[in-house]
């Protein structure tokens, strides 16, 4: 078993790290403080290939795998978790959806523009009454000639107001909970599409989260992803990649919090010695670093299995559950090690603490991950030891 990254992966990681430090860090603090979406960063991310990194070359992509993607997401997240979530949704959800389920025409129309950063991607599944319960989606899609007419509201859509291609899930059959949903590509120029309320969030303030409103929104039938009725399967299949992406984002926040904690504790003196020299601090640091590495191994495993084409439902959920929990624990401890100043905006750890919270909520809450994992484990036992 080889735990080392390849030369190529190290190069990808180092480009992401340099970009994050030199170009992203100077704008990240202000963008997060002011709650501004840093548009210019995405042009640069596009130029460097980050927005099409897992797409094949024929669609303007670069052809890297999921391991490279998680390395990039971690490095970007380490400096700006908001940029990381935008990047993750773009790559793991929108690009992946169109590549796998888009018609050749949809691929040719959207993928090169998504890869170049001309447009950003979004993914709209959640609704006011459909959060963890995905099958409760109510937004309807009614076939009329060569079009579908969409009506309904989507909630908490990352990048929804900035995206040029939005994967939207709507109900084509109100009576069939599992085969009644269909996935569409919606462009913001479509008649009947509008952006509703913009959320004012605790963290990830340099990303944008909005409500999307569909009022007799006309979507060409050519914009259906996969088959009519295949929406639920598409949504669930995409979530594996999405979860690995958020797990990688968790690694970045956790690493940044550990960095901040250690550097602070090394410089801060109380009772005549550096607080890093107190055993209580040392134990915290050991636990933080160990938890982070364990999380990293779970994320790398899920990503590399996915690259090998293996099913990763359980592994993606485990990586997401563990990495997001560990990131919250590390951010909590890192703030605690700072003491009072950690609670002020003078210190980065304050932002990391806020940014970490949503990791356990979106892309499936920790509770949903446990549901997925336990179901998967129990299924395996049922196969191995069938009940009498």
């Amino acid at each position: 078993m080889d735990f080392r990254l390849t030369e190529e992966e190290r190069m990808v990681q180092s480009t992401a790290r340099e970009f994050a430090r030199k170009d992203l860090a100077p704008v990240a603090a202000e963008a997060n403080e002011e709650g501004v979406f840093p548009d210019a960063i995405y042009a640069q991310l596009g130029e460097l290939g980050f927005l099409g990194m897992t797409l094949p070359e024929e669609y303007g992509g670069v052809g890297f795998g999921n391991v490279s993607l998680v390395l990039v997401l971690e490095e970007i997240s380490r400096v700006c978790a908001s940029t990381a979530v935008t990047l993750s949704v773009h790559n793991s959800l929108t690009n992946a959806a169109i590549l796998k389920w888009g018609s050749e025409e949809l691929k040719r129309t959207f993928l090169p523009r998504l890869a170049a950063g001309e447009i950003l991607g979004a993914y709209a599944l959640t609704e006011p009454s459909a959060g963890s319960d995905v099958s409760a989606v109510r937004t309807s899609a009614e076939k009329r000639g060569d079009e579908f007419i969409l009506n309904g509201t989507k909630l908490f859509i990352s990048t929804g107001d900035k995206a040029g291609a939005i994967v939207v899930f709507a109900r084509t059959d109100p009576n069939d909970r599992t085969r009644g949903m269909t996935a569409f590509i919606v462009e913001p120029s479509f008649e009947g599409f509008s952006v509703g309320k913009k959320e004012d969030k605790l963290g990830l303030r340099a990303s944008t989260t909005v409500e999307l409103v569909f009022e007799d929104c006309r979507v060409p039938a050519s914009h259906v992803l996969g088959e009519t009725g295949e929406g639920m399967q598409i949504a669930l299949a995409l979530l594996d990649g999405g979860r690995i992406g958020i797990a990688a984002q968790s690694l970045g926040i956790a690493q940044a919090a550990l960095d901040e904690a250690v550097l602070f504790a090394r410089g801060r003196e109380q009772f005549g010695k550096r607080i890093v020299d107190f055993q209580g601090t040392r134990w915290k640091i050991a636990d933080m670093a160990t938890g982070l590495d364990a999380a990293r191994l779970l994320v790398y495993r899920a990503a590399s299995m996915r690259d090998a084409g293996e099913p990763v439902v359980r592994e993606a959920s485990m990586a997401k559950l563990f990495a997001s929990t560990v990131a919250n624990r590390i951010a909590y401890d890192a703030l605690q090690m700072h003491g009072g100043v950690g609670y002020t905006k003078e210190y980065l750890v304050e932002r990391l603490f806020r940014d970490a919270r949503v990791l356990e909520i979106y892309e499936g809450t920790s509770e949903i991950q446990r549901l997925v994992i336990s179901r998967n484990v129990l299924d395996e036992y049922d196969r191995l030891y069938p009940a009498e």
Binding site: E8, R10, M11, T15, E47, E57
Partner: protein
Amino acid sequence: MKIITLLKRVPDTEARILINQAGTGINEEGIKFVMNPYDEYGVEEGLLLREKLGEGTTVTVVCMGPEAATEQIRTALAMGADDAVHICDPALDGGGDPFVRAAVLAGAIEAEGFDIVFCGKQAIDDDMGQVQSILAEMLDVPQVNVATGFELADDRSSATILRRIEGGDEKVVTSLPAIVSCDKGLNEPRYASLPGIMKAKKKPLKTLTLADLGFDAAPGESRSEILKWLPLPKGGECRMVEAEEMKDAVAELVRLLREEAKAI
């Protein structure tokens, strides 16, 4: 035009360098290695020049270093260089002194042919800054060191180079072929983009031994020898001079500097 850019694998600028127990070198354990930052300016200048000249101009990276230096070579290829020559030979372990390094590089550069060689003004590991000058002598071409500006003449037979000097710039015109060593400020090196990293895998990277270059053994003897590496003496304690009145503090500081530190 044939542009050569030299590069050296060096410890990361942020790495904490510790001298090994025997005093024969540094402890490489856990240290990240990178392309010498000054060489990055050279690679970038080569790429800018190729972009300006278009078809028919190539950028070849030449590196002498251990096997692991392929990572830095690939990075230069990912930035956009066309091909690379890696001189890697067990006889060169330890690197040799600047004279030996220049002799090896001269062999490779002569074999390649060149119109211009860009390199860093120094490598940030040993900071000797000699190779480019020795190399220029060996290749019998002019050298302009520590360049912060570069412009090729329209007829491509000469170049105008700026050198930052105290209070201004010095403008130097040199005939070509020549060697130009690069300083910070010359350009802003580009990132190795992701498509660049992918393409770099397929670019030609030639690995040569000393025998391939026609050397029987190490080319020439080192002209200098490093006897021992010594850690810096530990810095003294910082003492704060305190007094009620600033003028008393200044007087005390002056006294300490004169009588104890014997600095003034």
